[in-house]
């Protein structure tokens, strides 16, 4: 009764394993390891989003304090390292985390799509004619693959807007973030774009922050019920903070009406520096 393995198991594997990479890179070859990478980079990125939002609250203290905050970021490390050195290290770290997060997400989505025969190209979810009403999956978890690309595109716009100054053109003053923010967000279409993108970001974080615990196996039955609340709290905090900027800029709270210093990148910045000193 010698049956070959092939006869007994008619189902062929959906994918074949490639040659193993050296440790610890081989962890990234598995989907579970990739989810670990997504979770760990997710922690870094959520942390960044939170700190970025809190730092930006300086805009409510006026142009001089905002200028001081931006200068402080460039001079982290004091006189020990060249100016902006630590800032660039952090930027590189963030870029690396983004790249890993994106690569893992795209490859895992692909893997899931190939695991269902009739999965849609974009949604990836399989179809049942009987209607598939999701019971446990939240709106946030089902839209991760939509909110993700929205955030990535928004990020490019955001960098072009307030870091590279592509849209503002001559209105963009490098080193005067208050002026740039106030000018950019005073335009209604830009403000709407920021609101939409930040709602997507909050949804993404709501599922992501909970998912981190599950992917890394951080599990303690005593505290498990707090995980959803924590995710909602972080997402809500980032949402409220980030939405306040475009909304209050539209209502006129972030405006340059009472500005003491001129707007330019020479004596304007000197004036802001002096005003910040005087505090």
């Amino acid at each position: 009764m010698a049956q070959s393995t092939r006869e007994r198991y008619r189902v062929d594997p959906v994918r074949t394993r490639r040659r193993a990479w050296p440790f610890p890179l081989n962890i990234y070859q598995s989907a579970v390891g990739r989810k670990w990478v997504m979770a760990l980079t997710g922690i870094g990125l959520v942390g960044f989003a939170l700190i970025h939002m809190v730092g930006n609250l300086h805009v409510y203290e006026g142009p001089a304090r905002m200028y001081e905050y931006a200068e402080t970021l460039r001079t982290i490390g004091g006189g020990l390292v060249p100016k902006s050195f630590v800032l660039w290290l952090m930027r590189l770290g963030l870029t690396g985390m983004f790249a890993l997060h994106l690569h893992a997400a795209i490859t895992l989505k692909d893997m899931s799509r190939h695991s269902s025969d009739d999965a849609g190209l974009m949604s990836g979810a399989k179809k049942y004619a009987g209607g598939r009403d999701h019971i446990a999956a939240t709106y946030a978890s089902r839209t991760m693959r939509w909110t993700g690309p929205i955030i990535a595109l928004y990020l490019l716009f955001h960098l072009a807007d307030l870091t590279w100054g592509w849209w503002l053109g001559p209105d963009f003053v490098r080193g005067d973030p208050y002026h740039n923010v106030a000018t950019s967000l005073s335009s209604l279409p830009v403000a709407i774009l920021y609101v939409v993108a930040n709602v997507a970001l909050a949804l993404h974080i709501f599922h992501g922050a909970w998912s981190i615990f599950q992917s890394l196996g951080i599990n303690n039955p005593r505290y498990n019920h707090l995980r959803r609340a924590l995710a909602a709290g972080i997402a809500g905090l980032i949402l409220i903070g980030n939405l306040s900027f475009p909304i209050l800029a539209q209502t006129g709270l972030i405006s340059e009406d009472n500005r003491a210093c001129p707007v330019n990148d020479s004596d304007g910045l000197v004036c802001l520096a002096e005003e910040a000193e005087g505090h």
């Binding site: 198991y9 610890p24 390891g33 989810k35 190939h114 269902s116 890394l216 196996g217 039955p221």
Partner: protein
């Protein structure tokens, strides 16, 4: 009190793994006391009487413990009742005039054999890759010689309740088999008897799983579909143990 209800059964028919399938509609008068599978049995008798091919579906114990039955009923694995396998579902869950859509579990790792029967052997493959546990051979040991903490025993039993029906894969939008694999890995990992091969078992079972099924994105649909209500916590333990296993297996193989 039993009532007779009339329902419309819209059922998936497919001749074989390589043929394309389609839906067939049959009106059916049925007592609300009938189980769901009895309803299909009666339908098959009618088909037989008319000289048509009966609908192929799987079932064995019909008491919810073997994991053989399992179809998508109105888009839900094992139908509308929570924590119930298809065989334990009764027609009283449906109302007069309902349309009932019955489909096979769908995933690339579960090819359709015929009609509602799918080949779930990839799940066996995962179990098989788990290998063995080391037990001393010879005279049978005394009972209770190996102490097991009560909580560990309880939790291992919760995991071992998995009947391997595949509803988790069918309900998962990603067709991931994480809940099944984590239950199987989990019940051994919690017991002292499972410790010697714990890390090699975790690693190989996850890797065989990933060659057939998708990637878990923590939706939680599997837990809702599970007739045995296996907890999502086991998936967390599996994710933790897998990366730990990667590190430990390297150390165990002499590389540090």
């Amino acid at each position: 009190m039993s009532d007779i209800i009339s329902v419309t059964v819209k059922v998936w028919r497919q001749d074989g793994p390589d043929s394309s399938g389609g839906f067939e509609t049959h009106p059916q008068q049925i007592s609300t006391d009938a189980s769901f599978l009895e309803m299909l049995d009666l339908l098959n008798e009618q088909l037989n009487d008319r000289g048509e091919e009966p609908i192929v579906f799987e079932s064995d114990c019909r008491e919810g413990i073997c994991g053989t039955c399992g179809v998508m009923i109105n888009g839900r694995a094992h139908g509308p009742q929570k924590a119930t396998a298809t065989c334990q579902l009764h027609m009283r869950e449906f109302a007069d005039g309902d349309e009932i859509v019955i489909e096979p579990f769908r995933a690339a790792g579960f090819p359709v054999i015929r009609d509602l029967a799918v080949d779930r052997s990839p799940l066996d493959h995962i179990i098989e890759s788990g290998g063995y546990i080391s037990v001393g051979s010879g005279a049978a040991p005394d009972a209770n010689l190996t102490p097991v903490p009560r909580d560990a025993a309880e939790q291992a039993f919760d995991a071992a309740a998995c009947i391997g029906c595949g509803a988790c894969v069918a309900a998962c939008p990603n067709s991931a088999a994480q809940l099944f694999t984590s239950a199987k890995v989990g019940h051994m990992a919690l017991l002292p008897q499972g410790q010697p091969e714990r890390w090699s078992r975790t690693e190989s079972m996850v890797e065989v799983m990933e060659s057939y099924f998708g990637s878990c994105t923590n939706h939680g649909e599997c837990h809702e579909a599970c007739p045995k209500e296996i907890s999502l916590d086991f998936i967390a333990y599996l994710n933790r143990d897998y990366v730990k296993a990667k590190v430990k297996n390297r150390a165990l193989s002499g590389q540090r």
